[in-house]
């Protein structure tokens, strides 16, 4: 396997070198700004740097640790100063915002030459091409709608992994009666919203698209949204009273060590769980969160690199080389094994290279959901609406989780009001 990967790497290098040679005299250079300063993610980025240098480029990086907002603050000041970085890790609607002010570069030529349109998942293509041209390259696909269950509790009570929300509620009633916590959860605006993403999606996929992808306020006031909030209220009842101040890693451990039955969270859990020594199939099952409409569902989140307009010919060449390497199957494998996600190209074979069963399952479900037309982007993870709408919605959702005096009807109206206020 090692040899094949190396051979592929060589292939990428040659391809990269050919692209680079297309403009005579230019030496590909890049400076990538990203937020992966520590741990396995930093290692994965270091790998990108090595591949870049092997392909003949000069690699520089600016790692800004901490929250995405730190990266945005630096980017903003650089752009205002007329000194935009060549490549920046950004996601979702932020790509469109920077594209709208005319700051992004155009990668159409390279994308056409390498056939990106045919291999990238369709919901993702629209994010990378905000106005019809490729301005960004996707690094991975995270699945947000994973349900992790505790085999110990399910077996003890003779329960199946629930497929619909009704089954989920019935299972929770039994689990609670047996003295276990049903849902492990750590309350925070993003995690409450991650759970709600799965609820709305699983109950009514059209509602999800209208309310969470298009920010349609009428959809937010609809009966469907009220029902979804009622389901969320029910689920808060299935949680224990320690949800505030608990991290998602602690919630994960609760489920995987058999204290709680279920945990709803994205696939980055897989990387952390395996690192903590939990074993797939023994300590946890992974499956999609319940859907009432049958079939395969996939809520997508993706990291990507956006390319900004450059004047220096060397950096323009460098962008093409970097984009080409990011889109290469070799990089996608290395990066995603480390991150617990799956490649952004659907044509990569995950049975080799160290992907776990859950990751392989993720790719199959992704393909199936593309087939069935059920693929959506995650609102909770900043893949759909502008940050100002997302922030306003997250406030309402997290308040609803924290305050049980808010009724589902009130919450649905507050959600719509909060969004209307920002527009």
């Amino acid at each position: 396997m090692k040899l094949t990967n190396k051979a592929k790497l060589l292939g990428a290098s040659v391809l990269g070198a050919m692209t680079a040679a297309s403009v005579a005299g230019a030496e590909p250079k890049t400076n990538m700004m990203h937020q992966w300063a520590q741990g396995s993610e930093a290692a994965a980025i270091a790998k990108l740097g090595e591949m870049y240098e092997a392909a003949g480029g000069t690699w520089e990086q600016t790692a800004i640790s901490g929250h995405t907002s730190n990266t945005l603050a630096k980017l903003r000041s650089d752009v205002v100063a007329g000194n935009a970085p060549a490549a920046v890790q950004l996601k979702g609607p932020e790509i469109a915002e920077w594209n709208a002010i005319g700051a992004t570069a155009n990668l159409d030529e390279l994308a056409a030459a390498e056939g990106w349109d045919n291999v990238v998942a369709p919901e993702l293509v629209s994010v990378m091409k905000p106005t019809g041209s490729w301005v960004a390259a996707p690094m991975n696909i995270h699945r947000v709608n994973w349900l992790y269950s505790s085999p110990k509790i399910l077996n003890e009570l003779g329960l199946e992994v629930p497929k619909t929300w009704d089954e989920f509620n019935a299972a929770c009633d039994k689990i609670t009666a047996a003295g276990y916590t049903c849902i492990a959860h750590g309350a925070a605006d993003w995690s409450d919203t991650t759970t709600f993403d799965s609820v709305v999606y699983g109950m009514d996929i059209d509602l999800y698209r209208k309310a969470f992808q298009e920010a349609d306020v009428e959809a937010m006031r609809s009966q469907g949204m009220i029902d979804a909030f009622a389901q969320l209220r029910k689920m808060v009842g299935y949680m224990d009273d320690g949800i505030n101040g608990r991290s998602w890693e602690q919630s994960m451990t609760m489920t995987m060590s058999g204290e709680a039955a279920f945990f709803l969270m994205g696939d980055w859990t897989v990387a952390s769980a395996n690192l903590a020594g939990f074993v797939e199939g023994e300590d946890y099952y992974c499956s999609q969160t319940p859907v009432n409409w049958g079939g395969n569902g996939f809520i997508l989140n993706a990291d990507s690199v956006v390319f900004f307009n450059q004047k220096d010919e060397d950096y323009i060449e460098g962008q093409k080389l970097l984009a080409s390497i990011i889109m290469s199957p070799e990089f996608q494998v290395t990066f995603n094994v480390a991150k617990g996600s799956i490649p952004s190209r659907t044509d990569v074979d995950l049975s080799v290279g160290g992907f776990t069963q859950c990751q392989q399952q993720g790719l199959e479900d992704l393909k199936a959901s593309v087939e069935e037309g059920t693929l959506v982007r995650s609102m909770a993870h900043n893949m759909t609406v502008l940050q100002k709408y997302r922030g306003a919605m997250m406030e309402v959702i997290t308040e609803f989780v924290a305050d049980d005096s808010i009724t589902p009807e009130e919450a649905a109206n507050q959600l719509a009001d909060a969004v209307e206020l920002q527009s």
Partner: protein, 307 residues
Amino acid sequence: MQRKPALGSQGWANRLAALTPQMVLLPTLIAALVYVVIFSLWTLWISVSQSTLLPNMAYGGFGEYASLWKSKRWIVSYQNLFLFGALYVSGSIFFGTLLAILIDQRVRYESVWRTIFLYPLAVSFIVTGTVWRWIFHPQTGVELALQDLGWIAAKFDWITDRDMAIYVVVFTGIWHASGFAMALILAGLRSVDGDLVKAAQIDGASMPRIYRKVVLPTIWPIFVAVTVVLLQFAIKTYDLVVALTQGGPGVSTTVPAIVVYDLMFQRGQIAQGAAAAVMILVALALVLVPYALWSGWRARKEARSHG
């Protein structure tokens, strides 16, 4: 009567000597002018501009203020600013004074006590918040300890209670700042003339009465200094809340600094973030302007009564 300066080189030298302090202060004055006044005006203009993701200087009206005041999170955070500020400053001063008076009784191992009480200030807000989150959290802290001791019905879940969580923040803040208040007030107590206390003792006043009527009133400028320092801690509180409660449950412990940061750097709403920052300035003015008026009035009154 002012003496007329003699003409000639000696006069110039004198004038130069008189100007030296002003010239030394000038750079600081300019820096303060730029950083405080100019940047405040700049923020004010941004808040009524059309800025979104990037600053845009075109005039956009007061719409951002209207949106801000319709947001539940902002209203909660603004209330929290006043509640937290008032309780945090008064609580820290109260406990700081108490500790300072106790230590002032010439206790044994005084420096050890002083170090212990001053120590919290050396701990960063992030560490303070994280540790107290563990202590307050029902599943890791006091409640668990009591239950492990056998008191099964023990309940101590303020941090997960919407109405009580802000008091958890206040408590932690007071824990952090009391030592600081103590150190300054203790230094003040030590500077009080011992004869004053002896005179009061001879007059037959009890110790509590001496402190209340004689010692503490003489060191009031120290209390003003402590209040001003703590007040600016209170207004810029950010990391303590982020580490302790993340602004939760829900939005119940959010403070304005968190909202400003989110709006400006996370949501690409620079104008609304600037509007929120201006409102923080207004909050500060609400406290400081009446104080300035009061102290001005007091100074005039004293001047009259002594004159």
